[in-house]
Symmetry: C2
Subunit: 316 residues, 2 copies
Amino acid sequence: MIPNEWLVEAQQRLEGKVLRTPRIHDRVASIFLKLENLQITGSFKIRGALNRILTLSEDERARVVTASAGNHGLGVAYGIRLAGGKAVIFVSDHAVPQKVEAIRALGGEIREVRGGYGEAEATAIRFAEAMNGTFISPYDDPQVIAGQATVGFELVDQLEGNPIRSVIVPVGGGGLLAGIGLAMKEAGIEVKLIGVNPEESKFFYSQYTHEIQAGVEDRPTLADGLAGAINPAAITIPILKNLGASIITIEESAIREAIHTLWNEYGQKVEGSAAIALAAISQDPSIEKPATVILTGGNIQQEVFTGLVGDSKKKQ
Amino acid sequence: MIPNEWLVEAQQRLEGKVLRTPRIHDRVASIFLKLENLQITGSFKIRGALNRILTLSEDERARVVTASAGNHGLGVAYGIRLAGGKAVIFVSDHAVPQKVEAIRALGGEIREVRGGYGEAEATAIRFAEAMNGTFISPYDDPQVIAGQATVGFELVDQLEGNPIRSVIVPVGGGGLLAGIGLAMKEAGIEVKLIGVNPEESKFFYSQYTHEIQAGVEDRPTLADGLAGAINPAAITIPILKNLGASIITIEESAIREAIHTLWNEYGQKVEGSAAIALAAISQDPSIEKPATVILTGGNIQQEVFTGLVGDSKKKQ
């Protein structure tokens, strides 16, 4: 559904513009961690956002509209700053304040919408239509997915011949999991693709497994970047079904524990939306190893982080 | 020379005010890395600076003067912001601009001095005397050393029973090495203390081993935080001699390589002044393992860092 040339072009387009992030190898646990928390803007989202922006005309870049839980908005704001243009970014009124401030600092124009991510997205789409702007979805866009696929190609390079059985990826709308899956397929590597959704806001899981989001509650979660309703017709869904991906859900306590472990054992500061992928490994014994875990972002609220790791003395 | 109670009091004083940074364990290489690059202000310097500031009266805090290559200045500015008061910070006119800007952003008043760190220090001391202020040396101060000793006590806790033979510590004026050495001794742990000085600016090495700094050149080094002349009568020198520490020097190419390795293998962004400690391990086969390496700071200039790790693809 996404031409292979688009995947190749995205790699060329982003070369030298995003960081090739390190992957660390825990031989004892038999896992690789891909550190997109160290990426420019603090998350992988810059890849898809910038790739999409670089395919736009100057005229289109002058009227970019998006909706975001924070990190995609940061990516769009950074991309527009780099390429020139203007971006209006719709966020939920309970988005993480530090992410919203960081978008503003990059020059993005913020519009707050009452409700969750789903409400912000619906409002952004209507706004883009009304002003004849270009709406850049964080997940439901082939060029965004092609940009995220560059994580997958880097992963393949960085395996350096080590075999892997699974790739564990946090899922909000599924763009990164779809991109990585397509890159793996293109590289001829057979792996089990596992997407992880927070139990407290399992819209993607419900859509993917039961083809319905009605009745799913949008409760507060440490994985704020993965929360909220998604487009039920998103292209990520057929792509991921075609790739045979499975989606699992994870409880808050396991996310909290994983943030702690990533700090204490690996020296990585990650947000809940990223730690959830490591949490999956400890919660689901059926996940086959060696496994690669994508640490998608590091933009955790300072007070939340200090609250979580501050008691590390007691825990050890 | 520093009362043991001061070491204990520093721990209590800093509790909850600085981060207990993680240590990661590379079992294959038999090294522990202590991640002070993840400390508040991006370096361990906040520990000594804040401990010293918290022993000052309100009146003294109103007239604090210091000299710094950057990180100690950041620590002092942060500490004064927390405790109240005013700090004037003397820096070399070739200090790293991003560090100087960060000090200003924390409210520190910057005075640039032509020359190296040694010139900035001499000017700061004269200024403090003239205005009846309190000069806080980055290394030649028992309460600063007591603050740095908290790194040592954390290390001891974090060994969790694993034995170590050596501790490798970057050295500018020797405050951190002295503090860690005193903490180790207090905890009854016998280790070899190894201080690392850049070959391009080996003032501490020359003073420690030949009791002379005359003729030492102050050449540009990636380890900018360790460069420049020191007080030949600094208390760190007898303390370290008493503890039996050795000092070695490291070339630029090894520092560069270590910055690269820390990013690619461990996912840590560190400055040259910190990477030099890991460089010592690869350069000096006589260093006994298991060894603990102190990664003292992460405040590397973004352009320098991108220049160094940007070619990671070719290197792998």
